[in-house]
């Protein structure tokens, strides 16, 4: 089969070359306009980095108001953390974000361990994932009680 181009050569150009050049210029102009709009828009869509000092420690309130066999959720930087006082009276702190799909966990006094309500994930009081979908343990923080203040810091 002959290529479609060969007929055109025999019959002369289907379109005058001047029109082709103008079409090409119009296309070039269109591409230029499109690029000069798309580039700023794409850059705009990417949120700017906010300088944020990595949180090393946080205050978790008064020790005396946290009863044994209970817990409280407090901010650690921008994320929640859970501070547990065990039935034996020991203080423990973990990242409060479930390792499965980032729900915030809670303390279940009836089970005496940490539980995530979203997909029934269970963690023991060492932060280990013991049942349900969570793939990893919760990050554990160091707890110090000074003058009735619970101070939680990231492990180094």
């Amino acid at each position: 089969m002959a290529s479609p181009g060969s007929n055109e050569i025999l019959l002369g150009p289907a379109r005058p070359p001047r029109r082709a050049v103008l079409d090409w210029l119009l296309g070039l102009w269109g591409a230029g306009v499109a690029t000069s709009i798309l580039y700023p828009v794409l850059r705009y869509l990417i949120p700017p980095e906010l300088p944020e000092a990595a949180t090393q420690s946080a205050n978790a309130g008064l020790a005396s108001t946290l009863a044994p066999d209970s817990a409280r959720l407090v901010p650690f930087g921008l994320a929640p953390m859970i501070v547990v006082r065990t039935a034996a009276g020991e203080y423990r702190a973990f990242a409060g974000t479930c390792t499965h799909l980032a729900c915030t966990v809670q303390y279940r006094a009836d089970l005496q361990h940490i539980w995530c309500a979203c997909h029934n994930g269970h963690y023991d009081l060492n932060g280990r994932n013991i049942s349900g979908p969570p793939p990893r343990p919760l990050e554990e923080y160091d707890v110090n009680v000074r003058d009735d203040q619970i101070v939680v810091s990231r492990r180094v």
Partner: protein, 363 residues
């Protein structure tokens, strides 16, 4: 699958062939006043820019008295090209009001409002009012000093209305005073209610323009009747579309230049308990009303001065809305309409210039 097959496959499922066929045969009248047709297309183009940049601004803007100013400052200083997006939105708003007014006056001077285009005229006039409402509601959103006091003045004008005055002010402010509640309210109007209303009206307006075709001015119609030659025309596709595209490019270039060389200011954050700064004035398209109010005595013929101004403007708007329905098709009436339009244009221009000169902030 060849392109032809693909096209017929698509045509079977999205049957628009008769519409594109009609567009291919559509023509646009060509005469010495044709250039005035471009204002409408430019206004539509600028509305598109407003929708696009407005959507982008919504990604970072926070509509509360505590955070609005800071979020706009964040857009202007931290977000890449944020200054450009906000400046284009603000400049395009101003240009859009200007092209909409240009469109209104070209329709008046070319007498395009005549039967059967009265509904097109009414929808256009309502669109112009909604465009000004867009400007008024959007002005407050950065929550800066200038916009705060301009909104206080603008909403307070309604207080002089008999019977419904106090109620209208409460309705616009979302309370007795201009507060965060006003900001939330005007924000909702600006980004949801007005866009929905304007989009629906533009659809009607464009539908009518397509059905009736472009109007030919009476003078051109007369000449063609006398000479026996039909009015010249050019194909809508691609000739008129390419002309329109040129107009849009001019608008875009102007917009880019204004935004790059004169990024829109943010000013100082609004403080409800600070005195109004000197040289306060509304956006330029409200300036002629603002200036007229300044020259009004407190009472005129035993009536509240503000009420007289509002009454006159309201009556003028009403006359503008209904006059095409009652007009007789005579050369004399066209002359009267043109004369009135000239008078209005001169008055508005004069008052705007005076407003700029008089209310210039003193150093």
């Amino acid at each position: 699958m060849t392109t032809g097959q693909l096209r017929s496959w698509l045509e079977e499922r999205v049957p628009v062939g008769d519409l594109t066929e009609a567009l291919r045969h559509k023509t646009v009248p060509l005469h010495r006043h044709s250039a005035w047709y471009y204002f409408g297309g430019m206004t539509l183009f600028l509305f598109g820019i407003q929708v696009g940049t407005g959507a982008l601004l919504l990604l970072y803007y926070r509509p509360s008295a505590a955070e609005a100013y800071e979020s706009v400052r964040f857009i202007m200083t931290r977000v890449p090209f944020g200054w450009l997006v906000r400046s284009i939105h603000a400049w395009s708003a101003n240009l859009m009001v200007a092209t909409a007014f240009g469109h209104l006056f070209s329709v008046l001077f070319l007498h395009a409002y005549r039967r059967p285009r009265e509904i097109t005229w009414v929808s256009g006039l309502v669109l112009l009012m909604l465009t000004m409402a867009f400007g008024f509601t959007g002005y407050l959103l950065p929550w800066n000093q200038l916009s705060f006091f301009a909104t206080r003045i603008g909403t307070d004008m309604a207080a002089s209305l008999p019977l419904v005055g106090e109620f209208s002010v409460r309705l616009m402010r979302g309370g007795k005073e201009v507060t965060g509640a006003t900001l939330t309210r005007l924000f909702g109007v600006h980004v949801a209610i007005l866009p929905a209303a304007v989009t629906a009206l533009i659809a009607l307006h464009l539908f009518l323009v397509q059905r009736h075709g472009m109007s030919v001015p009476p003078s051109v119609e007369d000449e063609s009747r006398r000479s026996g030659r039909p009015v010249a025309s050019m194909p809508f596709w691609p000739h008129f579309v390419l002309h329109d595209l040129f107009g849009w490019t001019v608008a875009l270039t102007l917009l880019a230049a204004l935004s790059a060389y004169y990024p829109f200011e943010l000013g100082l954050k609004a403080d409800p308990f600070a005195p109004a700064p000197a040289g306060i004035r509304p956006e330029w398209y409200f300036l002629w009303i603002f200036q007229t109010l300044k020259y009004m005595p407190p009472s005129l013929f035993g009536l509240n001065g503000e009420l007289v101004v509002i009454g006159v403007i309201g009556a003028a708007a009403l006359v503008l809305l209904v006059f095409p329905f009652v007009l007789s098709e005579r050369v004399r009436t066209f002359r009267i309409v043109s004369g009135m339009a000239v008078l209005a244009l001169v008055y508005m221009t004069l008052m705007t210039i005076v407003g700029f000169v008089v209310s210039r902030p003193t150093p």
